[in-house]
Amino acid sequence: MKDLIPVAGNGLLDRRAFLRGGAALAAAMTGYSVRAEPLTDAPWSKEPGSLVEPYGGPSKYEKAALRTLSNPKGEPRTQHGRTPHHLLQGMTTPNGLHFVISHAGNPDIDPAQHRLAIHGLVKRPLLFTLDALARYPMVSRFTFVECGGNSAPLFSPEPVQANVQALHGLASCAEWTGVMLSTLLEETGIDPQAKWIVAEGGDAQHLSRSVPIGKALDDAMIVLYQNGERVMPGNGYPVRLLLPGWEGNMNVKWLRRLQLTEQPGMTYYESRTYAPILPGGKAYQFYFVQEVKSFITQPSVGVELKGPGFYEISGIAYSGNGRIARVMVSADGGQTWAQAALQEPVLAKSFTRFRIPWQWNGGPAVLQSRAWDEAGHSQPTRAQIIAHRGQGSKPTPVTAFVSQHYNGPTSWAIDATGGVRHVYA
């Protein structure tokens, strides 16, 4: 039973314990302290069940798995819907729970009338119908999309008491299917002067962002499908731009136009919003990449522990620079670390689920994860981020985006009752 020997402080076990240990491991760790009651037939097993629905939804017992909304009455400002990571598993986000940010509501676009124009510094300006786009050769890939402002509450000088949905719910992951943008640009031709593409949505804000032409030719996609079905209205129906690993706001939804230009548009969102202010007052311009990040989803705030014993610690890691190479987990606030198992498939610019077994002794513990990507980037400590980027001048609510692109660790403190709090450690 050497598998039960902790590999790091406060009860973290070898990530391969399950692969080798099996049932004997479980028996040894739990000790079977409570005997089961005699079984009976439940009412639902003694009569036929309900009708199959044309389009299924989750069980009525899963009503807690909902997006949280920042602007449920639709006041004239941005709406956010955050993904409940603490209630989900695996690497893909269900379409109804994918995060949504709509700056002027979700437009009600008739796909038969929608058009995508590609023009500017091209040889042949072209207009595409949805039917035409759907006839092009397609590709599918899993990739995360993350708002540049996700995790912004962690810039607060005091830890904001909120759950993983509130702190990190503006990131989600799906399988996206569509046409490579490079395929369409082959047909329009590219003027050698073109350095940027200004992408524009057909929503009420006509949201626009500038994309370097190199990204457009690398892995940018014109997406029609999300997890196998047509893109959800909040995620850009009927067609969106997908820039794997890059700032969510650049992945323009409800895409209607791409203009090739020599200079960036310096649009509202790139010149004002996604330009994080540094200590000293200067601001970064064109941050683009969503850097390597990880956070523990179970246990976490709202996913309390029910007494000492065995738990699996699980979370999400991702990097806009490529695949996740390694995730380390600590149960003692960063004093000692153990390597987590990475759930296959481990894909570039996609959520990667990590897991590690843990024997909680019932005492105080602080859980934390850190990730490394294949490009060699590591998730910085909070102290490193604050030294480089600064922090907010006062405690902030979850809904305040004091800055952008926070990718430090998240720490969950477990108390003796099994309660979980957000702390800095």
Binding site: A132, E186, S271, S393, V402
Partner: protein
């Protein structure tokens, strides 16, 4: 099938030129046909339309269509202020047009594409120039009587024009934070 082979077949069948190897399902479109959608304004003024406006012309339009959200004189409404330039001391300092926005053209571009919130694309180009002039004048970035048009607007130099550190394409984020 590889692209060169597709191309070869297309040429052999006489169905297209050397650029016609793909599906070719787009419809050619002219600049005139694109005009209503062609609303990007670039920082050097490319894309600015004909027309003009002054602060005096913008004031009544602002009162009617903007003040409910942005306040009577560009501040004090439910949305963030359009006027004022508090010093930037920390990451959570208020980012305003006058203390942060690097280019005046962004103001025209964003008003024309996104405002008023309930009726975007309802303003004429003259009205957008007038509102742009009104907001710039409230911020004392232009004179009260200055006319904003395709020639004058790009020349309005914003105070924080040099307040940025570009991270693209030279420096990819994260490279300097190796542990």
């Amino acid at each position: 099938m590889s692209m060169p082979r597709l191309l070869f077949i297309a040429l052999a069948l006489g169905t297209g030129t050397a650029t016609a190897a793909g599906p070719n399902l787009g419809q050619p479109i002219s600049h005139a046909e694109l005009a209503r959608w062609d609303i990007n304004v670039l920082p050097d003024g490319t894309g600015l339309p004909k027309g003009s406006g002054t602060s005096a012309q913008g004031a009544p339009i602002y009162a009617q269509k903007c003040a409910a959200c942005h306040g009577a004189n560009g501040h004090g409404g439910p949305n963030r202020p359009l006027v004022g330039a508090p010093p930037i001391k920390a990451m959570d300092s208020e980012r305003t047009i006058a203390n942060f926005w690097p280019y005046s053209t962004t103001l025209f571009d964003f008003i024309r594409r996104a405002m008023p919130f309930q009726q975007p694309r309802s303003l004429t180009d003259d009205e957008v120039y007038a509102l742009t002039a009104y907001i710039l004048a409230l911020n004392k970035l232009i004179g009260e009587k200055d006319v904003m048009n395709a020639q004058t607007l790009p020349k309005v130099r914003m105070p924080n024009r040099d307040g940025f550190i570009p991270r693209f394409p030279d420096k990819m984020p994260g490279a300097e934070r190796e542990l």
